[in-house]
Every structure is written in structure tokens, then in C-alpha cells.
């Protein structure tokens, strides 16, 4: 029995190393399955909870065009949530189970969505920075070892890069606008810069699962590698906009051909992860409320479907 198990593990790792995608019916180590369920459902939950901070501005968007774009973006996010829940379900869990874990606080979602959206410029910043960070995380996932996840990410990334450009365009419009608008853009960047850097997760030294996830090719880059790429990509964009990145330690490093930057406030990060961010209670509360108040709707749909089926059978 032991020998068979080892062979399976070896065969599995050999497939991973040969970059052959793992499919739902393939054998996989339990820990691989669990890690993926955790990661994909967390990703799906982030899409779902991520509708709230942006949804907060739909009714107040400053022009009809911007309102349309925002609505369409939030709709895309709901769609991403659906793809990802489906991808996670191929691993043997259910959406009901995943949602129950979200609502009980057992499952996490991205820490970024626990920050409040306080001005219209936040819609630009969230699109530009937060979606920018998401893309850096997600593009490598288009080649992640688990097939259904990789394929979901291909679709997600196409729409996400569109959102990111829209976000940048909001920032550009603000920065080319009046001094009041420019100030609004800078103030939003000041609030979102550090929380966005936190999206890449703890430092490599404090990220015990990274090595295993890299071996399994679930992850393709470490947290710190992606964070560095992000800073290198965003600083020139901020300069182009005429905005200042709120980091006195930020400096171009000629030797490494990248930016040196200050350390993230990890105490704040862990506090937000633990539920003590500005909006953790509101975000989760809104999700739980929607789910509980929607229970009778879901029950009605089920009851009606059953009646229909019974009538069809009787006829």
C-alpha cells in the first residue's frame, strides 16, 4: 500500500515538473487539493467581497459614462466569482460549503477589501493599483498546475487588464483636471499604496507554504518577487501621472535595476487579516446579511423547480 502511494506521489510530481496540467479526475496529494481549495475559494471570495468597496460608488459616480464603466466592472467581478467557485467545485467542495466558510470567518478574502472607499478617486486607485497588483498575481496563475484554475484565470485576466486600464484612465483624468481633482488623486494614492503592497502577502521569510506551492507550481513567483515587480511597474506610472508615492525610502537601485522601498507595516497587515481592519465587520456583515435575507428567495426557487418537475412528471 505504502509503495503505491509513493509511486502516485512521484508520478504526480513528474507530471508537475513536465508542466502537464492536473485535471479534476487525476490523482493528487490531499495537501495539494486542500491548498487549491483554500486558494481558489479565497480568490472567489475576494471577487465577491470586492464588489462592495466599488459598489459603494455606483450610485454616486460623477458622470453617466463612469457609472456605466463601474457597473460593468462590478458585474465582471461577479462573473469572476462564478468562474472561480466552479473551478473550486471541481476539487470536490461545494459553493454552499465555501460560502459557509466565508460567512463563519473560517475562509479569508483579500485584505485589501477591508479598506474603505472614501472618494471618487478611490475608484481610479482601486482599478489602477489594486487591479494592477491582482494582475501581477494572476497572470502567472494562467500557467498554474491545476487546469481548471489556470483556465479560469485566462478569462479573468483578460477582463482584469481592461479594468486596470480604466482605473488608470480615471487617475489620468483627475491628474489632468483641476487642482482639487489632482489633490483627490494624491490623497487616494496615499491611502491605498501600502495596503496594495500588502496584497502580495507576508515576506517570503514569513510565508511557510510558499516552497511547497512553488514545487507544485501552484505559485510561480514568491510574494517578495511579485511585490518588487509591482513597485518597479507602478513607480514610473505614478511619475507619469505627476503623483508622489508615499514612501520616503523609495529609491532607484542601479545595481539591482529595481527600486528599493520601505518596509510594509506588518502589524497593520496582520491586524487586518485577523479582522481588525476598518471595514472587516461591515464587509462580512453585508455578505452575511445578503445571504440570510436571500434565503427565502433561494428556497422559493427550489420549491418552484420541484413543483415544476412534479407537474412535468404527472403530465
Amino acid at each position: 500500500m505504502e509503495t503505491v502511494e509513493i509511486n502516485l506521489e512521484e508520478q504526480f510530481q513528474a507530471r508537475i515538473d513536465a508542466d502537464i496540467s492536473i485535471e479534476p479526475k487525476d490523482w493528487m496529494p490531499d495537501a495539494y487539493r486542500k491548498t487549491l481549495i483554500r486558494q481558489i475559494s479565497q480568490h472567489a471570495h475576494s471577487e465577491l467581497v470586492g464588489m462592495l468597496p466599488e459598489g459603494n460608488w455606483i450610485t454616486r459616480a460623477p458622470s453617466l459614462k463612469r457609472k456605466s464603466i463601474l457597473l460593468s466592472k462590478v458585474q465582471d467581478e461577479a462573473g469572476h466569482g462564478l468562474y472561480l467557485y466552479s473551478a473550486a467545485e471541481t476539487l470536490g467542495t461545494t459553493r454552499d460549503q465555501m460560502l459557509a466558510d466565508l460567512h463563519s470567518g473560517k475562509a479569508k478574502y483579500s485584505s485589501i477589501f477591508n479598506y474603505p472607499t472614501l472618494s471618487w478617486a478611490d475608484m481610479g486607485t482601486v482599478g489602477w493599483l489594486v487591479d494592477g497588483a491582482a494582475i501581477l498575481n494572476q497572470v502567472p496563475l494562467c500557467r498554474t498546475s491545476y487546469g481548471p484554475y489556470a483556465r479560469a484565470m485566462v478569462r479573468v485576466c483578460k477582463e482584469e487588464s481592461f479594468h486596470q486600464r480604466q482605473g488608470f484612465e480615471i487617475m489620468q483624468t483627475l491628474c489632468e483636471g483641476t487642482p482639487v481633482q489632482k489633490e483627490m488623486a494624491q490623497e487616494a494614492l496615499n491611502r491605498w499604496w501600502w495596503p496594495t503592497l500588502m496584497m502580495f502577502g507576508p515576506k517570503d521569510a514569513d510565508s511557510p507554504n510558499t516552497a511547497q506551492s512553488m514545487n507544485w507550481r501552484i505559485k510561480r513567483f514568491t510574494n517578495d518577487e511579485l511585490r518588487q515587480k509591482f513597485v518597479d511597474m507602478m513607480v514610473p506610472q505614478a511619475e507619469f501621472l505627476g503623483l508622489t508615492v508615499p514612501d520616503p525610502a523609495l529609491k532607484w537601485n542601479e545595481t539591482k535595476q529595481g527600486y528599493d522601498f520601505g518596509d510594509v507595516n506588518w502589524e497593520e497587515f496582520w491586524n487586518v487579516v485577523k479582522g481588525n481592519g476598518m471595514c472587516n465587520k461591515d464587509r462580512l456583515g453585508a455578505r452575511v446579511k445578503a445571504h440570510e435575507e436571500g434565503a427565502w428567495v433561494r428556497e422559493a426557487a427550489l420549491a418552484h423547480a420541484k413543483k415544476r418537475a412534479e407537474r412535468a412528471e404527472a403530465a
Binding site: L64, V74, Y85, A286
Partner: protein
């Protein structure tokens, strides 16, 4: 959604009085889809299940697209160089011309479905006829919007049936929603003086012609939903002439906040 501007000469075909009436009427249509879209968008992230969250955002987005085409046309009719945003964000409640139904609060999902069904049943049948308008621009806008309205009506009809013929609770909630919203349904097909003039000019359909089709669809859906059609309810009107419920002021306070706070800027 963008509909190509018609020739300026076509606008000049209207005598000033008719052109003014058409301007007010196009505003009425635009206000209607804007306010209903606004209400639906309030559901964003709070729907009973992700698929329906998506569906409501989708309908809101369609309505907003229709709104924009209509305001763009209204701005041309007005001929003062205004934009869609001026018309949406800089008019006060008594200048808004949407019927009372669409400004009613979302309430629970049953109230939203009932409101949407009553509107969609009118909207779809109306747009089908408007498609034949002698006004080319309205006909073109209707041609695009009717495809969307057909989808909306399908969605709301199905949900009305699910809720009516679902559980005891869903039935009660639907009954309650219809009891409070039915009184706003008559305004949709009660023509104002402006509408009468435009009907006489062949620019918009006569509502009397829509009623049999609307009734037939409604009767069919209510029957499937096992819900009786309310009878003898007093019908509230006034929205289309700027006499609104107290709800509209709050909608506009939220909708217009940015443009009022930061006037004259580009976003």
C-alpha cells in the same frame, strides 16, 4: 450605447412647440430608465445569490445605456449645447419626469421583482411600437433597447412566477409587494398632455393600443404565478409631470453629489 446623431435638419422639421414637447418627453424616458437603473444598482453586492446579483447589475447597465442615448438626444433637442451629464446631474426633483413606480424603494427581492415586472411589461411592449416611430432617432433607440427589454421581461416574469408559486413565504412577500406597488402601475399608460400631443403627431404609440398585449402577458404570468390580478385600486399619478414621492429627493442627493460638489469638471 451610442446611436448616431440624426441630421440636424431632421430636428428642424419639428415646429418649436412640438420640438419642446419632444424634448420634455425624451427627458421623461431618460429619467425613467436612469432612476430605475439607479434603484437596481443599489442591489450591487447585496443580492440573494450571485447569479441574481449579476442579473440585476446587468439590467441596471442596460437601462443606463438607454438613459445615455436618450439624454444625448434630449440635449440635441434642447439645442443649448448641454450634455447627458448636465441633464442627469443638474436638474432638481420637480424637473424630473420619471413615473412614480421607478423611484419606489427596492424593499425586499419580491418588491424589486414586482416593480421591475410592472415596468418591463410596459417597457417591452412600448418599445416594440416605438420602433415604428416617425422620429428616426427614437425609432433607432427603441430598436436597440427592445432587445434588452425582452430579456428583462423574461427575467422578471420568471421570477414573479417562482415567487408566486414558490413557498408560502415567497407568496406572502409577493402579495405584499403587489399590494403596495400596483397603485403606481397605471401611470405608465396614462398619457400626460405632452404624451397625447406626441401620440397625435404619430411620434409615440397610443397607449390604448398597448393595453391588450400588456394585459395578456400580465394575465398569463399572474396565472402561472397563481397570483390574482389586483382590482379596483386607485392609481397614483404625477411623476411624469414632476410631482414625485419623497423618495426621489434622496436618490438625486446621492446621484448628483459629485457634480453638485465639484461643478464644471471633467471626470
Amino acid at each position: 450605447m451610442q446611436v448616431a446623431p440624426s441630421e440636424t435638419s431632421a430636428l428642424n422639421n419639428y415646429v418649436p412647440e412640438l420640438r419642446q414637447q419632444l424634448f420634455h418627453y425624451v427627458l421623461q424616458l431618460a429619467d425613467t430608465s436612469l432612476i430605475l437603473g439607479h434603484r437596481l444598482s443599489e442591489w450591487c453586492g447585496h443580492g440573494p445569490v450571485l447569479e441574481q446579483d449579476l442579473a440585476m447589475a446587468n439590467i441596471a447597465l442596460d437601462l443606463l445605456g438607454e438613459t445615455r442615448s436618450l439624454y444625448q438626444y434630449a440635449a440635441e433637442l434642447e439645442g443649448k449645447g448641454g450634455t447627458e451629464d448636465d441633464l442627469a446631474f443638474l436638474r432638481i426633483a420637480t424637473e424630473y419626469r420619471n413615473p412614480l413606480l421607478v423611484e419606489q424603494p427596492n424593499g425586499d427581492f419580491a418588491a424589486t421583482v414586482a416593480r421591475q415586472f410592472l415596468f418591463d411589461n410596459f417597457h417591452y411592449h412600448f418599445l416594440r411600437e416605438l420602433h415604428a416611430s416617425t422620429d428616426e432617432r427614437l425609432a433607432a433607440i427603441a430598436e436597440k433597447a427592445v432587445k434588452e427589454a425582452a430579456y428583462h421581461l423574461k427575467w422578471t416574469s420568471e421570477w414573479l412566477i417562482r415567487l408566486g408559486d414558490g413557498t408560502e413565504e415567497s407568496r406572502q412577500r409577493l402579495d405584499q409587494a403587489l399590494a403596495s406597488l400596483w397603485r403606481y402601475s397605471g401611470e405608465l399608460t396614462t398619457p400626460t398632455a405632452t404624451e397625447k400631443a406626441l401620440q397625435a403627431a404619430g411620434i409615440i404609440p397610443d397607449y390604448a393600443g398597448l393595453l391588450p398585449k400588456m394585459e395578456a402577458h400580465l394575465n398569463h404570468v399572474f396565472q402561472e404565478a397563481t397570483v390574482p390580478v389586483p382590482q379596483g385600486v386607485f392609481m397614483m399619478t404625477g411623476g411624469k409631470e414632476g410631482r414625485h414621492s419623497e423618495h426621489l429627493g434622496y436618490i438625486l442627493a446621492e446621484l448628483q453629489y459629485m457634480q453638485r460638489t465639484y461643478p464644471g469638471m471633467k471626470w
